[in-house]
């Protein structure tokens, strides 16, 4: 499991889990889970198209993600976020299926794009992951307070000079970068689990934003590592483990909170 070819896997997946746990905190805070679903699903044909055109999948992904980000930001300004995300998803899928139908053949990489090829990361794949992660982490650290304020309390952010359109765009650019970077490694379906499950779990466990953010990163790392180990042992797809662990985490956090609240209200009633 720790042979040299696995080293790249460990490095890439650790970086991705770290970044996804960080940005996922804001995805959940902004209630943008649907956007975090629409962007990877919608831009996956971009990678497929790039493979068929013979260019790096990352460029195709980045192109599709850029279209998606601009569309999302413009549509969100007109009205509801969930509707905007749905429309973007449909538009990108339509564009992607048109591109794929023009080439008349599906690359063998399509399955890998959907479900990831964590166990087959090469040294060449590491460089874009590292660069984009550094950019995203730098962005999150410098925008931490404005993003926190604007995501949690949009009405209170405008009087502080944070314009919603600008903040939306900045956030979506960060999200798009994470999606484009993580998609070839962990696959379309898992980007979403990694972005949402650890952060939602952490936010329901801690009311302190710094602690919730740190917990989100830790859970994301733990989820990723455990899934790799299990996937290596059982030879089952990693996506199954990430999805299952994510759902388990979130529901056990909810149950834990429910029990804790019930226990607290019991003891409060006993000792008035």
């Amino acid at each position: 499991m720790f042979q040299s070819f696995m080293l790249h896997t460990w490095i890439a997946s650790t970086i991705i889990a770290l970044v996804a746990g960080t940005l996922g905190f804001f995805v959940v805070l902004r209630r943008s889970a649907f956007a975090a679903h629409a962007l990877p699903i919608g831009s996956f044909p971009g990678a497929a198209a790039a493979v068929l055109l013979g260019i790096q999948p990352l460029w195709g992904l980045l192109a599709f993600v850029a279209v998606g980000v601009v569309l999302l930001q413009q549509l969100q300004r007109l009205g509801r976020r969930d509707v905007a995300a749905g429309l973007v998803l449909v538009t990108l899928m339509a564009l992607g299926s048109l591109l794929l139908s023009m080439t008349h053949s599906y690359g063998p990489g399509v399955f890998a794009l959907l479900f990831g090829e964590v166990l087959g990361v090469s040294a060449a794949d590491l460089l874009p992951v590292a660069i984009i992660s550094a950019v995203v982490i730098f962005g999150v650290i410098s925008l931490y307070r404005p993003l926190l304020l604007q995501s949690a309390f949009p009405e209170l952010a405008v009087p502080r000079g944070l314009r919603p359109g600008v903040m939306d765009l900045l956030f979506l650019v960060l999200l798009g970068l994470v999606v484009a970077m993580a998609l070839p490694v962990v696959g379309t379906l898992l980007v979403f689990s990694l972005l949402v499950a650890p952060a939602a779990t952490a936010q329901s466990l801690s009311a302190n934003p710094i602690r919730a953010l740190s917990l989100s990163i830790l859970l994301s790392l733990g989820m990723m590592w455990l899934s790799i180990v299990l996937s290596f042992w059982t030879n089952w797809p990693i996506g199954f483990f990430i999805g299952a662990i994510g759902a388990t985490l979130f529901s056990s956090a909810r149950i834990f909170r429910y029990l804790r609240d019930r226990f607290n209200s019991r003891s409060a009633m006993v000792t008035p």
């Binding site: 304020l149 009405e155 405008v158 009087p159 944070l162 329901s204 009311a207 934003p209």
Partner: protein, 310 residues
Amino acid sequence: MIQQRNGERRVHMPKFEESSKVALAADVPGPATEQPLLAVDDLTVKIGTRVLLQGVSFTLSPGEFCGLIGENGAGKTTLLRSLVGTQPSPHGCVKVCGFPPSRARGMVGYVPQKINFAPDLPLRVCDLVQLGCDGHRLGPRWFSRKSSEAVSRALAAVGAEQFAKQRIGELSGGQQQRAVIAHALARQPRLLLLDEPLANLDFKSANELARLLGHLTREHGIAVLITAHDMNPLLSLMDRVVYLAGGRAACGSVEEVIQSESLSRLYGYPVAVIKHSGRIMIVPDTEGPQPDEACYMEPSNGRNRERITK
């Protein structure tokens, strides 16, 4: 009574308020009148073809406490939102300390009429107040004694210390309201725009907030523009009233506006102003002629009662 000021440009203080201002103007420190803190000139807000506000003009000087009144839907929230910059497409000129609203960010504290806090937001009251101090700053937050003192002062000002460490979405409406007021106060704004800040508060909190606002205007020269349907806790503090009706605004002194006839006309409902032992109270006038009661029950011809007794 409602003076329409459409198109009339004013740079200096409106003429009405001299009489009531005298008592308070004496103890306002600093620059009193040369630059208004807030200058609204010919503000018009339309949504589609509907005109919500038309030709609204007034100014607020440092240390002034101004009430904003009008019936439900008169446009009070719309006016405050245009002053803050959250209202889409306002026309006209709004200047806060000489800046347009989007550039006056450190100077304005705003309390919206309602905010829906999601119950699972991972933020406590103290985090909200802390973001009031430094929410617009870039980079990581380093510990600073000055800002943590500002946070505890703002929390103490609204009596929110007991629940400062609780998750904000799990508090009561009035507690959330006080947290938002502390957020608005945290950065020591020069202009406070408060939209129904008393609406959810109990007697004690409402009176303490009123006293705090009075202190801020008198001692620190902060200007306050506040809407309230129950104005009683504020009447002794108010220097001036801006009132909205039919999309237009006019200002007047408290003596002029807070009168039975003018308030009744403004709200279209009988209102009595009672003066008793130096205090003024506004109450709905139940003695006078009443408008027809709206009947939403179907007229019953005694059949329901028969059925019940059977």
